[in-house]
């Protein structure tokens, strides 16, 4: 895959992740268990849609066919989307939504850390802006996941069930596609090969509990 095509595919991957997750999270607007969480989730959803605008806007520039972020978001058909399956998963209960958010935030924060050093300045610039939002998302989702896990017997059981339901979709975050080699060679982007907040403590917790 050539450089431009690989970059375009990668930008669609990033923009589609935040587009789909942003819409999923926005489904909670007006339905969250408490007002404070409702506002916090809506803020997160808006941040993700804002990031989408930047990634897909750049994708349109790189493509050079005159397509805007809106064109890419709304005028492609399903098979053209490049997002992780994890972000499509139905919200389920509040605990599962927050577990999905934590898994994505942990991965995205590591990815954006790599992208800060991108040889493509437009990518590094977006990573810088999105990175601050994602650092907060991760802090919030991680705290909530731990809080619910340590909460009542019911909240613990729900969080455990959420992790078991979502875990099979985590592997995809670390599996490269055809675009990765070209992007890594050009110094534009590197996919996380491991994501400490997920892989170290969480896989340890997960696998010991499963045994």
């Amino acid at each position: 895959m050539g450089g431009e095509a690989a970059l375009l595919r990668f930008l669609l991957h990033l923009g589609d992740n935040t587009l789909v997750l942003g819409h999923r999270v926005s489904e909670w607007c007006g339905h969250a268990p408490v007002l404070e969480e409702d506002i916090a989730l809506a803020n997160t959803a808006l941040d993700l849609i804002g990031q989408t605008l930047m990634w897909l806007g750049l994708a349109g520039e790189v493509e050079g066919a005159g397509r805007s972020a809106d064109d890419l978001a709304f005028l492609r058909d399903v098979w053209e989307f490049r997002n992780l399956l994890l972000v499509e998963m139905p919200n389920g209960d509040f605990g599962r939504t927050l577990m999905r958010q934590f898994l994505f935030d942990a991965w995205q924060s590591v990815l954006l850390g790599h992208l800060l050093k991108s040889s493509e300045p437009r990518v590094a610039e977006i990573a810088e802006k999105a990175g601050k939002e994602v650092a907060y998302h991760l802090e919030r989702s991680a705290d909530t996941v731990v809080g619910l896990g340590d909460g009542t017997e019911e909240s613990h059981a729900r969080m455990q069930a959420a992790l078991e339901y979502l875990w099979p979709y985590v592997g995809e975050m670390f599996t490269g596609d055809g675009a990765d080699a070209a992007l890594a060679a050009a110094g534009i982007a590197r996919r996380p090969t491991a994501c400490a907040p997920i892989m170290t403590p969480w896989s340890a917790v997960f696998w010991t509990r499963r045994r």
Binding site: V34, L35, E36, A40, Y136, E139, D143, T144, G147
Partner: protein, 94 residues
């Protein structure tokens, strides 16, 4: 067992302000989440650079019934306002 989260009072230092001001209240399970909730509820339009939270039951308030003895005596003490002094020009801006 009480299922309601405790109430927290939120104080925010604005972009250009010098002191924290009370902006409202919210519910949260602990102090850290109260700070995060305050960030999401009260600073989404760039209202602040610093947040304080305090659990509402740790505040002690004056009683509205004591308003007379508490505040009225100071109404008639204009001499407590430092407006009766002639400031020498040499003192410059005060």
């Amino acid at each position: 067992m009480k299922h309601e989260w405790p109430l927290w009072e939120v104080f925010i230092r604005g972009q250009h302000g010098l002191s924290h001001r009370h902006v409202g209240s919210l519910h949260a399970p602990d102090a850290e989440m109260a700070i995060k909730n305050a960030r999401d509820v009260y600073t989404r339009r760039n209202e602040g650079v610093s947040i304080w939270v305090v659990q509402a039951n740790h505040l002690t308030a004056s009683s509205p019934g004591d308003k007379g003895p508490m505040f009225e005596p100071s109404q008639s003490k204009v001499y407590r306002h430092p407006t009766f002094y002639d400031i020498p020009d040499d003192a410059g801006a005060m």
